[in-house]
Subunit: 411 residues, 2 copies
């Protein structure tokens, strides 16, 4: 007898048949006595169809109208799923974001949830109804329809779970949980039973695209237990929760994330004077290019080398800007590299353990993999290496930290 918020993404509701399968799943939870609030995305393909219509009219459609348009995608799904539940004798009622008062700011296409009035939902739950809420959308102070940006349905689910003080927020996806690393790269990658919010955030931002990072942050902030499960097969999935202090032992490393989408840019022989970093990076950010890793070494002769990474799609633009800056600053040379990859080890355990970095660097050097950049945080160590060594590096690190062994994660 729990109150569950269950979120089904676009693939899970992509056809009428799949919507019926979701209804079966929800009904099973109702029958064992749980109260259920369902959050759904648009049927897969629908949002892109709508965006296509808009872009046939305007290259950059009015954001307010874009939200009116794309919010219809989820509205279709809530109606269809409610019908499928009603057909099964499982009384259900659909609500748009506006109807359950998901109040957001007015930043169209990327709005943030401000508050949720849970009273209406509470009354339906008490009346024994399943509530089916449109994900990804809300309404601002003036009654305008807003959307949270792509993938925002996860955030809707977490926000509803927080408002309703649900026992668990379950995110159904096309994978059966969060893995120690990508199973396509490492055969014996293992599904984790549990992972902390902090670890999940580091994993997500590094390329494990299971959950929207914003939703994980939100869940962490409001301490909503979050579970990632498969829509298509049964299983416990992965529980994302706060750190478990009772665990006898924390593992050093919980997972390995990696990313091939970056490119590296270096300015060699830059005069080492105060303010040089912002002189280099301001023109980059002014051109809306996001910078990920930044490394600057203390140099000799009042000269330094300055390196950073950007998304590979922005590489050419960034290189052109940096060539200009190189000349302006009287730097020696501007060099870039497109063929790099970033590999990161993530784990709350490394906070209290020394030697994790050494173990990582040893594992890489044993294979003759040269480390080009290093960046660290409290629970993460990232390195940039030659892209061709990526799979080798991930496999070696996975086995060096014994991630294939059950129990070697905060169970």
């Amino acid at each position: 007898m729990a109150l569950l918020v269950q979120k089904f993404g676009g693939t899970s509701v992509g056809t009428v048949e799949r919507i019926e399968a979701v209804a079966d799943k929800v009904k099973a939870f109702r029958e064992r006595g749980d109260d259920v609030v369902v959050v759904v995305s648009a049927m897969s393909g629908e949002t892109n169809r709508l965006i296509g219509l808009a872009q046939a009219i305007m290259e950059e459609p009015t954001p307010r109208e874009m939200d009116v348009l794309v919010s219809t995608g989820e509205q279709v799904t809530i109606a269809l799923l409610s019908m499928a539940l009603n057909k099964r004798g499982c009384e259900a009622r659909s609500y748009t974001g506006a109807q359950v008062h998901i109040k957001t700011d007015s930043a169209h296409m990327k709005a943030r949830i401000l508050e949720i009035d849970e009273n209406k939902m509470r009354a339906d739950i008490e009346a024994g109804r399943v509530i089916v809420v449109a994900g990804f959308q809300g309404v601002d102070e003036q009654g305008n329809i807003t959307t949270l940006g792509r993938g925002g349905s996860d955030t809707t689910a977490v926000a509803l779970a927080a408002a309703l003080k649900a026992d668990e927020c379950q995110i159904y996806t096309d994978v059966d949980g969060v893995y120690t690393t990508d199973p396509r790269v490492v055969d014996d990658a293992r599904r984790m039973e549990k992972v902390t919010f902090e670890e999940m955030i580091e994993m997500a931002s590094l390329g494990s695209k299971v959950l929207q990072i914003r939703a994980v942050e939100f869940a962490g902030k409001y301490d909503v237990p979050l579970r990632v499960l498969s829509s298509f097969e049964d299983g416990p999935g992965t529980l994302i929760t706060t750190e478990d202090n009772d665990s006898m032992e924390q593992p050093l490393v919980s997972g390995i994330a990696f990313n091939r989408d970056e490119a590296k840019l270096t300015l060699l022989g830059v005069p080492d004077i105060p303010g040089i970093a912002s002189k280099i990076l301001r023109p980059i950010s002014e051109d809306n290019i996001e910078v990920d890793m930044i490394v600057q070494n203390v140099g000799l002769d009042k000269k330094t080398d300055f390196t950073f990474t950007v998304h590979r799609n922005d590489y050419k633009r960034a290189k052109a800007i940096l060539d200009r800056i190189c000349e302006e600053l009287g730097a020696q040379e501007c060099v870039g590299d497109n063929d790099i990859a970033k590999v990161s080890i993530v784990g709350v355990g490394m906070r209290s353990h020394a030697g994790v970095a050494t173990k990582m660097f040893d594992a890489l050097s044993e294979e003759g993999i040269n480390i080009q950049m290093i960046s660290t945080s409290e629970i993460k160590i990232s390195v940039v290496i030659d892209e061709k060594y990526l799979e080798l590096a991930v496999r070696n690190l996975h086995s060096a930290f014994e991630l294939e062994k059950a129990g070697n994660g905060p169970e």
Copy 2:
């Protein structure tokens, strides 16, 4: 400088190109100084697509959820048209039925408008914006989405025009106005400049499917001048308005309507006792069969003949019921005829003129057309004839009442 409510149906907004054409049209009105409120339907085909999805789940989908589903159709159109207007520098804002507080009762899929709060719209109009409102939909007291039933966008437009006291409500369709009769049957059928609400109601219910009859009734009740025009070509269309008392002369007849969709059923030799009509018709209506014309003659020997018409699709069901009733009432015989047509002459002028019926019957008998049933109202005379004479009858009546002549309509 007028305040216009303009309604564009599904065909007029059926593609992105057509939505752009509507935006051009609206912009032209703005540029000559008019304030414009636009009401749109779903893009043609969209409502059927959504109904198809619902019916793949449930044969008779939950009405509340059906409204949530199909109301997305218009929501897509309002967003796209607003974008197209914004692109043209014509500031526009879209609103769903709920957003402009089109309050209805809770009869899902066939709701009736109770009231409209025009204040929000008024503010936008004063700020120089075009308002684009989703037709066909509203919201009930509890905030549930409702729809007015198919074709309800006309009603939305008239209701908005009434609430805003607009100067004119313009209904854009794929015809350029209301004709004296169907131009496919009579070559010199003439577009009427003006027609009264009453005449339009009789014409519409008799098969001239230009406007939703409910919208015409609504416009008549609130005295909203209604104009039918073409979406695709320029022209004044037909103005539907209250009777013009200043006209020197009213024509006898304004138009000729006809209908091939009916079938005739007769019970011969029924005992002529009180309550016999309801004994015959109650089982028919209890089976949800709508009855149109009803004729009962005073008979001899306390026997009477009772005839009525139903939609041709209901003929077989009605005949089976009537066969049973025939036996129960001890009537002589039950006969039916599928091959009939109804022809009606309509005109407010006939109220004050005698001899209109005679002229009609003469015109028909001249061609040897036998009249099977007659039914009259204040401004309409309908006859049922053999279907094969329909075109001949309509052409003869059109010329007998000189409808091809300009000015022979309330100009």
